[in-house]
Structures are given as C-alpha cells and as structure tokens.
Amino acid sequence: MPLYHNDDQAMLKDSVAPFVAEQAPVSHLRKLRDSADATGFSRDLWAQFTEMGLPGMLVPEAHGGLGMGHMEAGIVLEEIGRNLTPSPFLATSVGAVAALAKAGGTQAGRWLPAIAGGEAIIALAIDEGAKHRPERIATTATRSGNGFRLDGKKSFVLHGHVADMSIVAAKTDGGITLFAVPKDAKGLTADPRRLVDSSLASHVTLDGVEVDADAVIGEVDAGGEILDALLAATRTGAAAEMVGVGQGAMDMTVNYLKERKQFGKLIGEFQGLQHRAAHLYGEMEVARATVMKAQQLLDEGSEGAKLMVSVAKAKAGRAANLAVREGVQMHGGIGMTDEYDIGLYMKRDRALAEYMGDVHYHIDQVARMNGY
C-alpha cells in the first residue's frame, strides 16, 4: 500500500475537515472553557459526529460500525487536533473500541453498538501516577462471590466523570485483567480536574467496587494483549491528533510571518525566521509520514506496528512541541496573550504529549525493542 491517502480516504478528509472546522473551530473550545462547562465537551457536537457515523468508524460492521481502520480514524483525529476540538473520540472511538473489538465476547456485544450509536462515552482507566507506566499497574482485582472486587486509584482518566463505562486495568493473580465498570458501580468515584488545555480528566478511586464475572473484557489474566491493543490504538491516535495540533500551529505561524511588519519589512522576509519555519516544516512532514506508517502497520496487523507506534508517538510529540514553541515565539508578544489562539495550541500539545506516554517514555521503548 502506498503511504498516502487513497481516493476513499481523501474523500473522507474532504468531508470531515470542513465539518470540524465549521462546527468546532477554536472558538468552540473557548466557549466551553469560558462557560466553565462541566462536561468537558459538547453533547450536541457529539450528536453531529454520530450523524456522520464517526463514533463507530473503527467498530466492526457486525457490531453496527463502519469497520474502518486507523488510517481513517487518523483523518478525523488530525482535524480534531487542528481545531483543538474537545471530544471523547480518541478515548471512546479509538482506544475503547480497539480493546473491545480485540476482546470480543459479552462486553463487546454490549458496548460496541452503543459506541457506534453515539450513546456511550467510555473512559480508559489505566494510569495510576503522574507519568504513564502501564507496566506498573497496582490496582487489584480479587475474586469475590461470583465476580471481582476492585481496589485502587487511577489518574488522568479523560471523561472519567461523565463516562457511561470505564475500562479499568487491574492486576489479577496471573496477570492483568481489564474490566468494564459501569458508571453507577458502587465504590467508584471520579473527581474531575481541569487541565491546562481546559479539558477535564479525573482522579478515579475504586474502593471495593464489586463487579460480576462477565464484566471481564476478554479473559481473566489475559488482559495484557487487549491492553496492548488499546495502548497501540490510543497512542497512534494521540500522535495523529498531535500532527493536527502541530500543523494548525505551524499554519497560523506561517500566515503571521506573511502579515506582521517590523523594521519596515514583513517578518517572514528575515532569514532567521525563514530557516526556522522551513526546519519546522521538515519535522512536521516527517512526523506525518511516521504516523501514517504506524496507522498502516496497525491496519495490516503487522508485527512491526508496536515499534512504529512508539516511534510515531515520540516523533509527533517532538514535532508538535517544536511547532507550538516556535509558534508562540514567532508571534512575539501577541503570542503570549489569551486572546490569540496560538497559546491554546501550546496547552493542548502539552496535554497530548503526556497522554499514553511522553516522548521520553517512547524513546525508551524504542531502545528496549531494539535490545538496548
């Protein structure tokens, strides 16, 4: 497969890009932020997403979805990134769907159609500290009656306070097990915190939460593989969103260079700025190609996908970070104002950079996968 969008994918982009830009431009984020919105995203917008079939893009057709791939989901995520659109798409439609589809069984049958129908928001309760360390999950699930009892604390759970279901990763006797914990489970509390990018993420406490045996996603002790699928999808998705954030910031900046005059010239005429902008362009193009490669390998079910996913998350992280830093700097003083959008890009980049492993985490993974 060639590494560019085929005709169908290009068509998808042609319909999604204007839709997101019109319905959820950066002003949409500002409105939610300035009204201290307690949900963290717009339900109306999610209903519009649903009309277009987007929440179920990755859901298999047998479960009422479109059965598309990561390449297609990436197209939506890039536009979400470019417009800084607050949305449950990444966690629900990419991460949760990847896990449920991989696991199959009761929970897949219960939740996948609901996701495709736009009825269910899903949270991913994986991390337990300030840094992403899925290797060190301490939350426990102990057998109790016909089911399990969950105890532990989770952090950085996007949409945790409004999710209809949370996918909770916990330690069981023989490994990791994933559980579908419904919103109203007793002992489950979600304490939402507003983050630097105005999104809401929760500290989740599981205090003796009782779930039935059929809450297990997949098989007991065999959640490692499902978690891997969830992580690979979410990391690749976050990388695609970061490409959108970086591209949005870069476009704004390049346009500004063509408008702003100082010393009697457009600042874009100064070679000092031209070279930095051109360097940034190169980094963004490489990051985009890398994310597409990861999407392609995931869609092919290739063995090389895991390595490329970490490469993509690291590379997109570096490139988008460069884009927002250069963006603020090249805007000069105005880039520091709340009124101007470029600062919002810097904030979103920081949140996405931490999500599911930062640059350093993934560089370290690449070293490990290469035997050093």
């Binding site: 560019y4 063509k258 005429e269 070679q271 490489v286 190609a289 597409m292 690291a314 290469n370 050093y372």
Partner: protein
C-alpha cells in the same frame, strides 16, 4: 494471487538464483562499490556476475523503459524489487551518477536519439559520468557560473574551470553547465555532454579532511564540443540543471535512512556492553542513540512516503529539498554517534583493525553531505520560498 504478489514471487526466485552470496555482504570499503566505466576493475567475479545478471534483466535501472536498458517496471513493481533486494541485503549492482542524475534528466529532456545513445551504456555500466556544475566562484550561487562556450558554428570552444568534480579523474564523460550567452543570467547556460578524454580537459585532485581525494578541480582549455552534444535547448540548460539537482538530492538524502544499520543503539549495545538491566552501559549515550533511532525510523517512513508520492507525481516539486536537508543532517548526527560509541578505537586513522580508520574517515566525509548538492542553508531558503511561500525569500 494478485499480479503484484505474483511479481514479488518471481523477483524472489530470480534474486535467489542470480544474486551471489558475496553480494549479500555489507559494503566494507570503496572497492566493494561497483561504479562501472571504461576503466573499471571488478573486485571479484561475483561483482561482475551480479552486474551482468542485473543488466540482462534491466534491473540496474528497473523503472526505465526497455529500449533504454531498463525493465519498464511500474512504481509499485519497482518498490517491490527494492524491498526484495533489501530483504536479502543485496548490494546495489551499479552505483552511478549516470543512473541517479543524468539518466532522469535525459529521460525528461533528451531527444529519442540521445536517449538510446546515452542511456543504454549507463544502464550497462559502460560509461562513467561526472558532474561539472560548481566553479570556484559559483557554489551556492550556481547560476553565476563563468565557464564559457564560444559559438563556432557546428561546435563550441569551452574555456574555464570547475571545482569539486567528484571522480573527475575516473569518469569517462562529464555533464557540464557552460555559459553560452553572457547577457542573460538564467537563460544563457547550456547543458553539455562531452568526453573527459577530449583535448584540453585536465583534472587535479583535491585532498579532503577525510584524507581521501575523490574530488577534483577540472580545467577546460579550448575544449571542442560538437553542437550535437547538448541536452534540452541551447541557453536553457538551467531547466535541465535544476531538474537534475532534484534527483541528486534524492540520492544524497538516502544516506539519512542509514542503509543496513537498523538501529544504531542495537549495533552499539553489542560492542559497548550492557548493564544488569540489559541497557546500554552509558545512560546518556543510550538516550541519545535511542532518540536518534526514533528519528531514523521516522525518516525511513518519510522516505517511503516521499518515494510513493514522487513516483506518482503527488509530491511538491521542492519536497526533495526537504528530504535532502533532513536526511543529510540526520546522517551527520549518525556519524557523530558512531564516533562517540567507538571511543578511542574510532580515532585510529590507519590501523588494519579499523580498516584504515574507516569510522573516522567516514565521519569526516559526512560533513560534506550538507554542502554537496546544495547546502542545508540553501535547502531551507528553497523550502521557505517555494513551499511556505514566505515573502522576499
């Protein structure tokens, strides 16, 4: 089985039968590279057998049309052939400026007669070419070149000098930019081809910091060039030159992907030793190498995307400048790490164990990557102007 799968199977079988085991070993030194040409001496029988087999099949230039020595493969088929050659770590059967640079320009601008006449010997590795662009006063500002061809009716008489002419002393022919109209800067240059054995052509080697000297100053003293030996139109050679530079960049930027070395950290962990946790035993170097590996894997993806887009006409014409910039800066970083990882051993200049100081010399050689074929600064200028459309650039 799809047609492409069938082609892959066919290629696999052909490679198995035709690529000698010696040609699947990593390149160790310059002698392992097959440059072809009138005076080329093959290192061994395997090198010659591999070239002959590829020539017969059109695989030295797989995507060129058959009448010009190619195999007439589609972009998809060419990609498969490359993947399969890479899979068995096959060496390139023929390295040649004729293939990388002149060939594509002739395919684009040459007459039918010129194509048949010049491309076939290139594909067969019979004529080795060198590039006469730069002059002592005209490097980045190439269009200021002064070498002059005086119109003598059926031929020109060329006088002037070129610099940095790679392998001028080994080349059979030169493709050369010559001013034919002094009144018009851009539209006064003609793209000429001539034999390096022509009367009045002399070369003088330039010793580089790597201690090697494949580069030359080249002098033209009343060299007669027949009026049949130019490409494109008279005085419009700049168009040909620019097109060719795009391909030159494509070739030079390939170094960024790092050839056979998959992971620099993986390669060094073996030599360097690991700590109890199984990590390279220098945490800072480990981190730098891993960050570099990320960039290399990423650049490979970019290389694949660039080729897919370039071959199907989807790439921005100036994207080769971006590839050149990113790739060459990456390759320089690789060799800095190779030197760091090698420690004092990598400093040795001519010992046998270090194959004549291969690492140190290789490291120094890469510093030219961001100069030859247009400097990094000039690449950034072009991106700013042609892709980002910045003012006044």
């Amino acid at each position: 089985m799809s047609e492409l799968d069938a082609f892959r199977t066919e290629v696999r079988e052909w490679l198995e039968a035709n690529c000698p085991a010696e040609m699947r070993e990593p390149i160790r030194d310059e002698d392992d590279v097959c440059w072809g040409g009138r005076n080329f001496k093959f290192k061994n029988a395997a090198q010659k057998a591999w070239l002959d087999a590829c020539v017969a099949k059109g695989y030295t230039v797989p995507d060129w049309p058959k009448p010009y020595g190619g195999a007439g493969l589609t972009p998809e088929q060419t990609k498969i052939l490359k993947q399969e050659m890479k899979r068995i770590k096959a060496r390139s059967p023929l390295d040649s400026f004729g293939i990388w640079m002149l060939g594509p320009a002739l395919l684009q601008f040459g007459t039918e007669e010129q194509k048949v006449h010049y491309l076939n010997p290139i594909a067969r590795g019979e004529i080795r070419w060198c590039q006469g662009y730069s002059e002592p006063g005209s490097g980045s500002d190439l269009v200021s070149l002064q070498t002059f061809g005086e119109d003598k009716g059926d031929h020109w008489v060329v006088n002037g000098s070129k610099i940095w002419t790679s392998y001028a002393d080994k080349a059979d022919w030169i493709f050369c930019l010559v001013r034919t109209d002094k009144t018009n800067k851009y539209q006064g240059i003609t793209f000429m081809l001539f034999d390096m054995e022509s009367k009045g052509v002399t070369t003088k080697p330039i010793l580089l910091i790597s201690g090697n000297s494949p580069f030359c100053e080249t002098f033209f003293d009343d060299v007669e060039v027949p009026k049949t030996q130019y490409v494109g139109e008279i005085n419009r050679g700049w168009d040909v030159a620019k097109y060719l530079l795009g391909h030159e960049r494509e070739m030079i930027s390939g170094g960024g992907a790092g050839g056979d070395m998959l992971s620099i950290g993986g390669a060094f962990a073996k030599a360097f030793g690991k700590n109890e946790a199984g990590e390279l035993d220098d945490p800072i170097l480990r981190a730098e190498m891993a960050a570099f590996d990320v960039d290399v894997f990423a650049y490979r993806a970019m290389g694949e995307r660039f080729m897919d887009m370039w071959k199907t006409g989807r790439a921005h014409p100036a994207s080769s400048n971006m590839m050149k910039y990113v790739g060459t800066e990456l390759n320089k970083r690789r060799h800095e790490l190779v030197m760091s990882g090698g420690g004092s051993e990598a400093l040795e200049w001519d010992s046998e164990e270090t194959k004549g100081g291969a690492r140190a010399r290789g490291w120094l050689r890469t510093k030219a990557n961001s100069i030859e074929g247009g400097t990094s600064e000039v690449m950034l200028n072009v991106i700013a102007k042609r892709i980002l459309d910045l003012p006044g650039a």
